[in-house]
Subunit: 406 residues, 2 copies
Amino acid sequence: MNDKGEYSYQEIRLARAALTRLFEPSDLVGFALVQHAGPVMALRIATGQDKAGGEDEGAVREVLEQAGAASGWGGLAESRERWGTRKKDLAPERDLEVIRRLGGGFVIPEDTEWPAALADLGLTEPLALWVRSAGPGFPQQHRCISIVGSRDATSYGAGVTGELAYSLVQRGFTVISGGAYGIDAHAHRSALAAASGFAESGGHIPTIAVMAGGLDRFYPAGNEDLLRAVASQGALIAEVPPGSNPTRYRFLQRNRIIAALSAVTVVVEARWRSGALNTAHHANMLSREVGAVPGSVHSANSAGCHRLLREGAAVCVTDAGDVAELAGEMGTSLVPEAEGSRAMHDGLSVEDLLLLDALPVVTFTTVDKLTSVAGLSLPSVLSGLGRLDAVGLAESTSGTWRKKKT
Amino acid sequence: MNDKGEYSYQEIRLARAALTRLFEPSDLVGFALVQHAGPVMALRIATGQDKAGGEDEGAVREVLEQAGAASGWGGLAESRERWGTRKKDLAPERDLEVIRRLGGGFVIPEDTEWPAALADLGLTEPLALWVRSAGPGFPQQHRCISIVGSRDATSYGAGVTGELAYSLVQRGFTVISGGAYGIDAHAHRSALAAASGFAESGGHIPTIAVMAGGLDRFYPAGNEDLLRAVASQGALIAEVPPGSNPTRYRFLQRNRIIAALSAVTVVVEARWRSGALNTAHHANMLSREVGAVPGSVHSANSAGCHRLLREGAAVCVTDAGDVAELAGEMGTSLVPEAEGSRAMHDGLSVEDLLLLDALPVVTFTTVDKLTSVAGLSLPSVLSGLGRLDAVGLAESTSGTWRKKKT
């Protein structure tokens, strides 16, 4: 603390490192405390070294009681008891040393590289991020796409995920996911593959895995090689310090970070009840775009996607172009139609369509006959035949007409 | 015509029969003429036997010129020329006799069994309907579902169509389609199959095919047996008289009738450009519900469905329950969730979730250890363990605890 009562960057950094162990993710009372008292004083208050300071005491206490009451986290006294059980585990210097030895780092909101998009989380904005990354900083939100889905992906889901991730990275996007088995793993793997293909031209981080536990170990163990590759060519991030277990609660909270970092969250496969829907829900709450990949109505692994579509909580996406368009990429909405060119009879007038319908395919017919079959006046038939002839839809011989084979 | 200048039902009926041959479907000038002058006078004016009558002349002429100008059908003079080419084909008594000999009938808006839903078409409401049917009248719109799609259905599309049609007929709905190959045929066939299964209990018309050509022949020829069965157990309808060819223009106009008759139009499979999308478009314009069945993003036959979903022109439907819900069937939205029961940990408080996460699976642990791992106060852990024990999620021995295997 300097003469003006301001804390140094190092004091703030150390306090935030400690707070990530003391507070569970989105502990609303703890997070409110940090917002109202700052990280250094929040740590002192939370650990009982200090009261809510001086003249602010009443105001801070009221805010905390409200946060606790509204959220179910309990009041300040109850929260202090909760935090007190972890006081003895606090060793922020050791945690920072651990992440440093792993080649990683620790990013706090006071850093310029802090992802601005996380501020949209409001009171549940992470207190800090533990990072293992080779790259420089984080990509901007509008260049990030989350791809999430079931752990038990089908071959269909795996295939679509691979196509999406590969193509999105090639378009310059960063693919964010949760590092789990199934869709997550396919997304990371294809993103890395796409980046290795054009390492010289790109330079952007191809993929980020947002982990629910500490970054000192790779979870799930079966993804160790993949996550190691993500750490060295992309980034692993977590809001809990090294040594933290990936609990179910932390998995659910982790999803809010995936949603917040991305312009679009794409659910490729999800059962009727699935953690991926939780991520989609967070994205909806944050007014981020959500895409859902359709699949067979007979596949339980697509039921969650169809549910999102049906409830209007997601937009139907079928390829990387659709996703890029949701992310606001310029020009993608002008992509030509997916199948075939415009039919030749598009743009014909009603009368010319009637005339075209009336033309026989094999034998030639007279103009007089055409007026009756098409139900058109003689002038209309004559001028119409001229137009159909001009666009290659009709042909004539000796004043008789038929449809031209195209 | 009686003393008051009113025409008899028979005069009106005969005039409408003639007009269905004289005017193409949705001939806006012709249809406007009928609306403003009535069918009998409209026929006389259209065939040049009479002018727009007396004092109304200026008003009728103005309406017709406006209808023609706005629609591209041309003015009254031009339209008269168009109609004139077909005057020599008019033989309404013969047409009515043909349909009678086929066991069919002719329904006009003046009949009580005229489907009220068609009035939503406004100026393009059909002038009359030619019918081949065994059943009594038409089902009400809220009990009708259209199922439409590609002629070149995949086995997936055929399967889903079959499931939907069968189940909807079992729920008491009438399945409407266009009698074509592919999705249409599967829809009619399954609807008939469902009806044959419980003929005693039902009694409603299982399926209606809306045809683009005259009902004196079955088109396409390969569907003859099917369409014959539809005529005898359901209904075939057309707005054009016997002997009329099914032209492309008439196919497109036919789609507006399919859409108008139904509460919901379901597109099962459609390519990026498909006639089924035209039906969906008509339904949108009529404020009818549109459902689209999702499928593989790799299937060109689902691209049109995904396009509808993406553009917000359709709701995602995966089974008959979804469709019935769109049709406003009571209670279907209360159908239980599709997969599994609610997870046992649903409804737990944040603190109890944290505690559940902290419980080891194999070995038992102490309450003291749990306070630290879960980050909860001693009272919270003790009361939480009690709650988890009560719902069968935790078990204890000698004051130590672990997760209970479920």
